[in-house]
Symmetry: C2
Subunit: 556 residues, 2 copies
């Protein structure tokens, strides 16, 4: 059997200008990066304004398990399948972060016969967007310390600077440190650290901004810390917003690539799915909708974390409304949710599938709560038995949703045509009646409680000391209309990662809240969230190299 | 009068594929980055092997003064002029560092009618080479701390880790700090810091490597520090060389852009000219020589620092030999070398020109010492008087070299045709008989003394405690054949930046020596060398922004 990378390398890629042409873009409307990648120019994006919008389909999943669910693979397979059945469809997914690829193997964009190419480039520097975000973020950081160095006219309290630096690298030694040592010429020593680039608020901002003007507005609103008299200091106060926008002007242009079956994919932006909203850029999704009948996109992690943010943050702020949701599950992951150990996944166990379906059922209910029609995609594995798939189907029938077996991994788009038909039936049924979970005007703490009780089914949320006072202070300062971004474990409805299935009645402690004034949301930290990963004992980097033909080995 | 940026924006750029075609490159042999930039593929570079080589012309200058000399402008103007007189010529210069552009205004590639475009891109992310170098450098740094974290099998002495991190940003707060704070999960606290990316040994390596295999070899040889029993630890010991090469595989491909007059320019690599050798990449220079009759390139700073390193390091290691040298001077800079203050440069002062010519004369002597024929290019300014230019001409005649007035800044290539003719006469005269200043086999300290006495005309070099012992240890370890890279002020032959003209008989203190085992040279630090700049009180970043048309303002 061929590996993902072998399949990707056999791809018959079309020149990217041909893919662009199928979207109605002229050669002057794209900026090629090599022969198989391009950016869509700002001018081309602007010219799409006012075009009728295609239908938006969200792909999400049950809670992730070590068994794997195949959300991206299903997104790609469904996109190819929709194109096969005659719907002009564009796929919208996130860009990969470079750093983690040098830790654990991974980083493919899809898998099997459902992949986006060129895979190597997408997992390395791609078109440089994340480097641009790193530069913009760190320019602001440099300007903060420089301002303090030259006299601190803004009266910044260096103990209360919250703007750290970023690097697209897994480097635990940078999490926490001291900068500014070495004497007067190097500034004032203070404690600080680095996050990984995808955790940068600049990343979240780039993914939510509608154009360059909006980007600069949002960058200017970033709060970097406080003065000695506790007033917020913004990037605009430091005069950094213009230069940051200049650094991001190319990165704001969506990247066009293609599937193995030569259908268009916009791969753009990649915010963390815990402390940020975890989906691709608004600018890419909107452009795709203006150029296509269907857009298939995905949200990070499971539907509780990823779809909730996609709907309550991205769709709210960008005025988007999905026509249907695909909820991805695998028999293996359902069995793990039903209590089976990873080592026992090879054994048929329909009863465990049924037990694991409690997790699936909970997500279906939640998604219905947003007014959205749902279809379950069973991402098929060779070892799945008929008894197991029947158990899933019958569970779904009982819950009023269709379950469709999808074989895109083995068969490409052809294997997902049933799913594509099910999706178009739902999307074109007029059943979708999307509404967010809470109104803008709801107080911030009540928003947190609403998500915790209605999505996570907690008995209640428990604020740490100072949290409610902080939220009220932000409400007084005019930030009360913002949505809330919950940062918690992706493995469970609770805050205990080992509690699979559908736990309920638990308490969700809210340890800390953070204001992302530029991105436009308030983050509620529920549990330990790592914003700078480390490398494992034997990082993938040790075996990543070029082979004799100059091809990358060990990255996948 | 139009500014540089206004002239650049009026350029009639040709599609980059057409520029490539003039070099004999097919569309498949380049990787476009937008419509006006491209990389030349590794395959295309490899196919050039064995082609006859064109003639190499080095552009260098008198010691820099605040008056400005216009070395890059002259390089570009001469390249255009050579093309105008029928010589197929390619220009080879360095890439700009992003960080400093947000400090002081600047960063143009040439000036007036002698520029390389697209200027904005070249001063921002360009094709991402410096970001790739940053990633490769910092991956190695992360792997060092990660190795120590997971048990330190190599027995690395964390106090003796010399490999710092890098960022392409002016950020003085990062010069010196502590990493690894925050408890056991974040590793072992230790003192360290950041340099700017152009100071990275990875940058020097990329610029000296002949191909990807050589690149990986050199990366593997990087010494990152020592074990507790004082043995060197290399990047290869950490298994980092393969992954670093993967990160650099695109960056190793030279970048093709064009002059305002649509002639080809390879802009590739940009090592510091103090702690590194300060010239563009070997791979670009070699490729240009294989595709052109003439290649015009430049070296950093004045001829004492830049040309010396170009000749003793780059030409030695790459087997290159220039056919002629252009020594750039301006009347204004000569007057400053003759003791005139910047505020008095507007007054005619032929006597000061004559006094300042001692600096010029010293460089001519030095360059002749390498066996190279020299022509002096007087980069013409509107205020230069006939008495002043006559003074220069007569000085040059007395010293056996021709001085040619070049007006490329105002007139483009047409203004430098006289210079082009003078260059071809010299280059085709067969006079060049290039030899390096010292043989590989000379002991390291003797190499340092040779450069200090023969080029800098010092009485002698003075080693700090431990320097000679360290050099002998490296000789024992097999590094004795390497050339030496002098890091000292660029403003004077002495180590006192205020001593203009042609000081002699001084002492050059060698404070510290560093081994760049991967790049292949030993650095001798003579005086204070800053490897991480800071931002000024009012950084350019405060006024850099996009205008209403989406064009960059304030960067130039």
């Amino acid at each position: 059997m061929m590996t993902d990378i072998q399949i990707a390398r056999q791809a018959s890629k079309l020149p990217i200008a041909e893919i662009a042409e199928r979207l109605g873009l002229t050669p002057a409307e794209i900026l090629p990066y090599g022969h198989d990648k391009a950016k869509i120019t700002h001018a081309a994006i602007a010219s799409l304004n006012g075009r009728p919008s295609g239908r938006l389909v969200l792909v999400t999943a049950i809670n992730p398990t070590p068994a794997g669910e195949g959300k991206t693979t299903t997104t790609v397979g469904l996109g190819d399948a929709l194109n096969r059945i005659g719907k002009r469809t564009t796929i919208c997914i996130r860009e990969a972060s470079l750093g983690p690829n040098f830790g654990m193997k991974g980083g493919a964009a899809g898998g099997g016969r459902a992949q986006i190419v060129p895979m190597e480039d997408m997992n390395l520097h791609f078109t440089g967007d994340f480097h641009a975000i790193t530069s913009a973020h760190n320019l602001l950081a440099a300007m903060i310390d420089n301002h303090v160095y030259w006299g601190n006219d803004l009266n910044i309290d260096t103990r209360r600077i919250t703007w750290r630096r970023v690097m697209d690298m897994n480097d635990r030694a940078l999490r926490d440190g001291v900068v500014g040592l070495g004497g007067p010429t190097n500034g004032f020593p203070r404690q600080s650290g680095f996050d990984i680039t995808v955790a940068s608020e600049v990343m979240a901002i780039l993914c939510l901004a509608s154009d360059l003007a909006d980007l600069q507005e949002r960058l200017g609103r970033i709060v970097i810390g406080e003065t000695f008299d506790r007033r917020p200091v913004t990037a605009r106060d430091l005069g950094a917003d213009g230069a940051m926008t200049v650094l991001l002007k190319d990165a704001m242009q969506p990247n066009l690539v293609q599937t193995l079956e030569n259908h268009p994919a916009l791969v753009h932006g990649g915010p963390f799915a815990n402390i940020a909203h975890g989906c691709n850029s608004v600018i890419a999704t909107r452009a795709a909708l203006a150029m296509s009948e269907y857009v298939v996109t995905e949200a990070g992690f499971g539907a509780d974390l990823g779809a909730e943010k996609f709907l309550n943050i991205k769709c709210r702020l960008a005025g988007l409304a999905p026509s249907a949701v695909v909820l991805v599950a695998t028999i293996r992951a359902l069995k793990m949710n039903g209590g089976v150990a990873k080592s026992d996944l090879g054994k048929e166990d329909a009863a465990a599938v049924v037990r694991g379906c409690t997790n699936l059922g909970r997500h279906i209910e939640n998604l219905h709560g947003f007014g959205l029609p749902v279809v379950v995609a069973l991402n098929h594995f060779a070892g799945d038995t008929e008894a197991e798939t029947d158990a899933l189907r019958s569970f779904c029938t009982d819950h009023g949703v269709e379950a469709v077996i999808a074989r895109h991994w083995a068969e490409g788009g052809a294997g997902a045509e049933d799913l594509a038909h099910a999706v178009t039936r739902l999307a074109e049924s007029g059943k979708a009646d999307f509404h967010t979970l809470y109104p803008d005007a709801m107080p911030l703490w009540q928003k947190i409680e609403t998500i915790c009780t209605r999505i996570y089914r907690a008995a209640h949320a428990e604020p740490a000391a100072g949290v409610r006072k902080q939220l009220e202070a932000w409400e007084m300062a005019g930030y009360g209309d913002m949505p809330v971004c919950i940062a918690k474990t992706q493995y469970s409805f609770s805050t205990d990662p080992s509690l699979r299935g559908a736990p309920g009645g638990h308490v969700i402690p809210v340890r800390e809240v953070r204001l992302n004034a530029g991105a436009g949301f308030v983050v509620a930290i529920c549990g330990e969230i790592m914003t700078m990963p480390g490398l494992p004992r034997h990082p993938a980097a040790e075996t990543i190299m070029l082979d004799r033909d100059g091809q990358v080995e060990g990255l996948f």
